[in-house]
């Protein structure tokens, strides 16, 4: 495994850490489900160097990602951006939680209603008397 090579590592540790974090979010397009940080493909190396070049040129993380998406398309992003296409994906957990939660609540409420006290007022009074008598 080659992945990050010693000659790629930037001298500034903070900048290098940013490069590593960004690399973990970028897909190696010729590999199977690997980020460019893990991959030993030539293309991944080129991208890693590109990321570092952009960072050294003073780009922000967002700018680096924009730069790479503009060249390679959104497929390269392992964390898809929120847009019309991915709104369902990103909202899925919350939607599911809300729907599940409300079904549960509705169920519980219905149960409680159907389990309303079946004793009439008279019967309750009698029950109270019986219970009190025991003391």
């Amino acid at each position: 495994m080659r992945a990050v090579q010693p000659d790629e590592v930037l001298s500034d540790p903070a900048l290098e850490q940013r490069a590593r974090d960004l690399s973990a979010e970028l897909r190696c397009m010729v590999c199977q489900n690997q980020s460019i940080d893990d991959s030993d493909a030539e293309l991944a190396r080129d991208l890693r160097i590109l990321v570092r070049d952009r960072l050294e040129a003073g780009d922000s993380n967002e700018q680096v990602l924009d730069y790479i998406v503009a060249r390679y398309g959104e497929f390269v992003l392992l964390k898809p951006r929120l847009n019309v296409k991915t709104v369902l994906l990103w909202s899925a957990p919350l939607l599911f939680l809300l729907i599940g939660g409300s079904v549960l609540l509705a169920n519980a409420r219905q149960r409680r209603k159907s389990a309303q006290p079946t004793l009439s007022k008279d019967e309750e009074a009698r029950l109270d008397r019986i219970l009190n008598d025991r003391d």
Partner: protein
Amino acid sequence: MNIELGHFALVLAFALAVVQTCVPIIGGRMRSELLMRVGEPAAITGFALIALSFATLVLAYVQSDFSVLNVWENSHAAKPLLFKITGTWGNHEGSMLLWVLILSFFGALVAVFGRNLPLSLRANVLGVQGAIGCAFLLFILVTSNPFTRLSPAPMQGKDLNPILQDIGLAVHPPLLYLGYVGFSIAFSFAIAALIEGRIDAAWARWVRPWTLAAWMFLTGGIAMGSYWAYYELGWGGFWFWDPVENASLLPWLGGTALLHSALVMEKRSALKIWTVLLAILTFSLSLLGTFLVRSGVLTSVHAFATDPARGVFILAILVLFIGGSLALFAWRAASLSAGGLFQPISREGALVLNNLLLTTATATVLIGTLYPLLIEAVIGDKISVGPPFFNLTFGPLMLPLLVIVPFGPLLAWKRADLWAAAQRLFAAFGAALLVALLSYALVDQASVLAALGIGLGVWLVLGALTDLVFKSGLGKVPAAVAWRRLAGLPRSVFGTALAHSGLGLTMIGIVSVTALQAERIVAMQPGDTVEIRGHVLRFDSLRPFTGPNYTEDQALFVLTRTTGAERGTIVSSKRLYPARQMPTTEAGIKTLGLSQLYVSLGDKTPSGSLVVRIWWKPLVTLIWLGALVMMAGGAVSLLDRRLRVGAPMPRKAMAAAARGGNA
């Protein structure tokens, strides 16, 4: 000749599976005891036939019979015997045969151990098992026949993918399949209940041990796969959110939810309909996993071959079983009576919350895995959904679940006192907080989040132990009495405590290695040293080595502490398998306590140095040790007498029950 025998046995097994499907179920409708009883001998004989068929294939591999296409494609005469045997299922055809072998094994187990099941339930369960068997046997015979001959027979095979030539292949797929396929029993019971329109607490008591066993195997299979990837792939990751990994995680999450809801159903006869639905969904996720991995929709090291015909066939099986069972559920679920009532704050309530969070997490992973396929199919765009997405969504969903886990076992059924449970957990909470503070203060590089994560793991472990402490009355009654009480607790209480603390250990391992690992990437020459977290690694020498079917360059490293104490040597190598001209990295791993030092070799630089990547992985082994503890919890729980249907009650337990000693 042998191989034709195996082929013929498989065809016979298919015919028998058709009988096993139709006769008992029809018998059930006709109320014919005779017809219903056909299920058992059919299931047992079917298993014997498939076992025979599997054995002939294994034999062909052991003998390196290259006149069999499948053996030629995936084996090599120089391969060590173990890998010849395990190579049987290191390919698409063989692994499908292992799948049906395990399926028929479970069917035979039901036939043998299910003698005290009501006759009609047993007949229907075996019938549904037979139907699944039919579908997959037909799939093998039509699209994935491992018994195809090759003429003229070549002298040498094409060898097995080197990554698969590992002890992991002997353990990981069988365990995983025992898990996947084990859930088919819960599925068959669910379908049988729907067919009969009747379900009771006894049903849950039969389903729970099967689900527990499947869950245990799946836990082991996933953990083993994770460790295998960790040491074999050479960059020290333990989980990649690869679609194929997700395919195994999905039934695990569903199965975990099922395990807990079946508990509510057994103890309180509540959540019946939901439990049936979960049983169906869990096995559906197993089938979906099989489809995703076997159809070639996803490409990975697991997808041995891609063939559209196979994909379409498995998709058809998927639609038939998932669609059919859900339709049956929609049609018949209303006939199942709803069960007992409970307050929101109760053991049942906690388990419902557990199920809500687990199913949401399952749905999230499922959607994340399938979303790229969906987008590509619908609008033709290619997008990726990778680890950052899953970490951002799955993590926050698991967090509240992990926080509430220790409360569950401390809450009473029906109506519980949350404050009382919280009071009992004060000590565990205090200790967890202390550990979090200490790790923040003492471990450099520890962020607030990492410290809290480790604290959460400790909370899980101690919270699980708290349950045992209070159930035994330790500290309140004399030690001897507490000890007696502890020994007298049902095994399932220990099972729960073990499984929950195993979860905590895994959590500690994951947080620790994610947040605190150190990495060095250096170009080294013999004699060079590199320092990492209090250790010094010296590159001693590079030497060639020849194995049975590979050659490799072995790098020898000597490890010492910075104080100078010797910590042994590490051998890390780059290997080449000439049959496939495929290189692999064999990482050198040194376990120090619960942590590991991981050394992986890269290429030579132009100046003749060797690129070496070194990781310090603190507490990494806890990830898999935790899984082992979870498995142990499952095993202990399985040994509980109460789960063994029809096991006579020991006199002591009977007396305790008479005293009303309901723990």
